[in-house]
């Protein structure tokens, strides 16, 4: 079920009413309702893949309990590996089987050995990369004795399948989300009203910014050979805003929806396009995934400790794995590697933690130095997105070649002023709200509910008036 669909517009109020009016007196019933609603939500897309979620839930629940009882380190390690193999096994099969097969065949044929192997027609279950990582963090934390296992199967099932963040995150840690299923939720007006506003803002980002940008980005990327350098750069810019509007919009809807049910999810995007260097960008972009890789891959590998070689190796590993997580294509691997190249000079010069604070807290506008840093980081990000969006490496390289030609200085062949104005307006609002948890967070401080309501009204009308006519799926569904 898509957040920007009629189905969800009916589903959400129904679950909300059942949740607060029918099951509000019984925590177990409320959790059970969330499990059923989440399974319905997921099954609406393809009910067959519910078995994967159910299996993953049962395995990790059992492994969690077994780990807490087991004291023998070898057996504990075996239990952990059971969880890792089941979760990554599903992910590997559904997402990467064909990629590895095709590359093995190509590699063998390069050395003169022809292998007959047929690719499988595999459907990628929506959100598999998200919920497998979420459940993996649960068993790893128990293994590391950072977390006590739950004995409440319903609460654990609700944690694994919680519908607002099931298919595209944020990837929640058990330590943050699971305890919220144990406690009675109390309806709070301000939390729910703010949740609705965050949903509306997410819908605006998705339906107005991302979907309109998608139309132009698709046209330019799909016919890149027909356009000059400046148009191709504009196409990359449109994709930059498409992916941000799409993914951060999804996160806003997910967080806002959770708040309607009394839950708090972690911030997933913190205005990444205002970052002053790449290290800061990665602290602000897809925070739940970045921190997951940091805690469960980078730090176990040694992190930034050790010698230069170790630092370089770990940086490349984390960025390449992160790229590969996005999809079984060399373009994602190169995108990851390119970000590692951007990041390494900062790490080696120990300047990767320069910008930890908020952006331009004292003034409305950034200083010249800050503005310059933001612009450079933004352009580097735009160029990296070309690999992310391109069909293959060859396509990306030819795209780059055309951009870095004299035609970059010619007039763009496509110039949709209405959309450009909307993007400027959007980024303006984001800039004004840059110190909040999301752009409209500051509206909470306005006492007049009339003004707050008026703002929501204007936002809905603008979304309807400017939403794209072509319904697009969320990009991150494919990951």
């Amino acid at each position: 079920m898509l957040f920007n669909s009629l189905d969800f517009a009916i589903f959400l109020p129904l679950v909300f009413i059942l949740y607060w009016f029918l099951t509000n007196r019984n925590l177990k019933a409320q959790n059970l309702l969330l499990v059923l609603a989440s399974y319905f939500f997921y099954g609406w897309w393809d009910w067959r893949f519910l078995s994967l979620i159910l299996f993953s839930t049962l395995v990790d629940y059992s492994v969690g309990i077994a780990l807490s009882k087991q004291t023998d380190s070898t057996k504990r390690r075996m239990l952990l590996w059971t969880s890792i193999l089941v979760n990554l096994g599903f992910l590997g099969f559904f997402k990467y089987y064909n990629f590895f097969l095709d590359n093995f065949v190509t590699a063998f044929s390069f050395f003169g050995t022809e292998i007959q192997a047929n690719s499988l027609n595999i459907i990628l279950p929506v959100g598999i990369s998200f919920y497998t990582f979420q459940t993996l963090s649960y068993t790893i934390d128990i293994y590391k004795r950072k977390l006590e296992p739950t004995k409440d199967l319903v609460a654990f099932s609700a944690f694994v399948s919680f519908f607002p963040q099931l298919v595209a995150g944020p990837i929640e840690r058990a330590s943050n989300l699971l305890p919220q299923f144990y406690k009675k939720r109390i309806f709070e007006y301000s939390k729910a009203a703010d949740g609705v506003r965050q949903i509306l803002w997410g819908l605006f980002k998705k339906m107005v910014i991302a979907d309109n940008c998608a139309e132009y980005a698709n046209e330019i990327f799909n016919n890149s050979a027909d356009y000059n350098g400046s148009t191709l750069f504009l196409g990359a810019l449109f994709f930059t805003f498409q992916i941000y509007g799409d993914f951060s919009g999804y996160s806003d809807i997910a967080i806002g929806t959770s708040r309607l049910f009394g839950f708090n999810l972690k911030q997933n995007f913190a205005f990444p396009y205002f970052s002053r260097d790449i290290a800061e960008f990665w602290r602000r972009w897809h925070i739940s995934l970045s921190t997951w890789f940091r805690d469960y891959l980078y730090i176990p590998l040694g992190g930034s400790r050790g010698g230069t070689w170790m630092k370089v190796r770990n940086t490349f590993i984390i960025f390449i794995v992160s790229g590969f997580w996005h999809g079984a294509n060399w373009t994602f691997i190169v995108w990851g590697a390119l970000n590692a190249i951007y990041f390494l000079p900062l790490l080696l010069r120990k300047k990767n933690r320069v910008y930890l604070g908020a952006i331009s807290t004292k003034y409305h506008f950034p200083s010249l130095k800050e503005g310059g840093s933001i612009l450079i980081t933004f352009v580097l990000t735009v160029l990296a997105w070309i690999f992310f969006r391109a069909e293959n490496i060859g396509h990306a390289l030819s795209y780059f070649t055309e951009i870095f030609s004299m035609s970059l200085f010619s007039r763009p062949e496509i110039l949709p002023w209405e959309l450009i104005s909307l993007i400027i307006l959007f980024m303006g609002v984001e800039w004004l709200g840059r110190n909040g948890l999301y752009a409209l967070d500051g509206l909470n401080t306005i006492k007049s509910s009339f003004i707050r309501l008026g703002f929501s009204f204007v936002l809905i009308i603008i979304t309807i008036l400017y939403m794209s006519n072509t319904e697009q799926e969320f990009i991150y569904f494919q990951f």
Partner: protein
């Protein structure tokens, strides 16, 4: 919770009222026409683009044409139900039935599932009247209309018209009507058109369409209205390319059956010599031009008087004008 629910419902109502207002600012002419019927209708016609041949201006009785290009008998029935509340007692309902009409499916899927044929119906018909109603399509069409209307509210720069060497009225009159060339054009058009109409005329099972027409007629008769089946004039190159066997199989038998079953008149001008051989009366192979329409309406209303369906006074008014 009460405050939250109150504000949410209030927001929903405000948004609904606003979008409804923007939606109503502008509508396609044929939708506007059916939504703004001013008087009780004494005579109406339904049907496909062949219904364009009817003219009611100048009659003392009030008439309205509610046909549309490529219309199906299913939507003829729905349009009839929609305008029924505006019909005068014993109103005449003219039902021009095209040769291909019994073979069309409800939503014209011969043009593809997402074809825009049904879009207009979403603007005024109730949901239950729309065949295979899709809420998704409904919302999408409404959003499109709202966005279009909103953009029209924003004043646009007037485009500077380029000066062109337009021909004066005198120059236009000099151009003579080349009957031979026109007849040749009608023939060429007819060849393509018949192939297309035979194809769409056998797309779907006719039984359902026969049933829709029967439902319309039965309801009209029961309400005291007077339905009339009509085949409009076609140019000979068009009419003759529908072989007798094809017509008997796909058209004649249904029209005859319905006419006799409900005891309603059937006026067949399809191969009428007064039109069929006269190229100068046709705009194309199966549509009359202005002159043809005038001629056809004069004959039609004379026939309707003879049948006692309308009175002489209703038409005399027209002649006096």
């Amino acid at each position: 919770m009460k405050k939250f629910l109150f504000e949410t419902v209030l927001l929903f109502i405000l948004v609904a009222l606003t979008i409804n207002y923007i939606n109503s600012l502008d509508r396609p002419p044929r939708v506007e026409k059916i939504l703004t019927i001013k008087k009780k209708l004494d005579i109406i016609n339904l049907g496909t683009s062949h219904g364009n041949n009817f003219r009611y201006s100048g009659l003392s009785i009030y008439g309205g044409a509610f046909n549309r290009a490529g219309n199906t008998l299913y939507y003829d029935l729905q349009n009839y139900k929609f305008v029924k509340k505006h019909l005068a007692d014993s109103a005449v309902i003219m039902l021009p039935v095209s040769y291909f009409a019994f073979g069309l499916d409800e939503n014209r899927n011969d043009k593809g599932v997402d074809n825009p044929f049904v879009n207009d119906f979403y603007e005024y018909l109730p949901r239950k009247s729309i065949y295979s109603y899709s809420a998704k399509r409904d919302i999408s069409l409404k959003v499109n209309r709202i966005q279009k209307n909103f953009r029209n509210l924003i004043p646009k720069k007037k485009k500077v018209k380029k000066k062109t060497n337009k021909k004066s009225k005198k120059d236009k009159k000099v151009i003579s009507f080349d009957t031979v060339a026109h007849a040749e054009m009608l023939k060429e058009f007819a060849i393509k058109r018949v192939v297309h109409h035979k194809k769409i005329g056998s797309f779907a099972s006719p039984e359902k369409n026969v049933n829709y027409l029967k439902m319309l007629i039965a309801d009209a008769k029961q309400a005291g209205y007077r339905p009339v089946l009509i085949t409009v004039p076609y140019y000979k190159e068009y009419a003759e390319r529908f072989e007798a066997e094809w017509l008997a199989e796909n058209y004649d038998r249904y029209v005859s059956e319905i006419s006799s079953q409900y005891d309603i008149p059937y006026l067949d001008y399809g191969k009428d010599d007064r039109f069929s051989f006269k190229a100068e009366l046709f705009m194309n192979s199966d549509h009359l031009n202005k002159k043809g329409i005038a001629s056809f309406n004069e004959i039609l209303f004379t026939d309707l008087i003879k049948l006692g369906i309308i009175s002489k006074d209703d038409v005399l008014q027209k002649k006096n004008k």
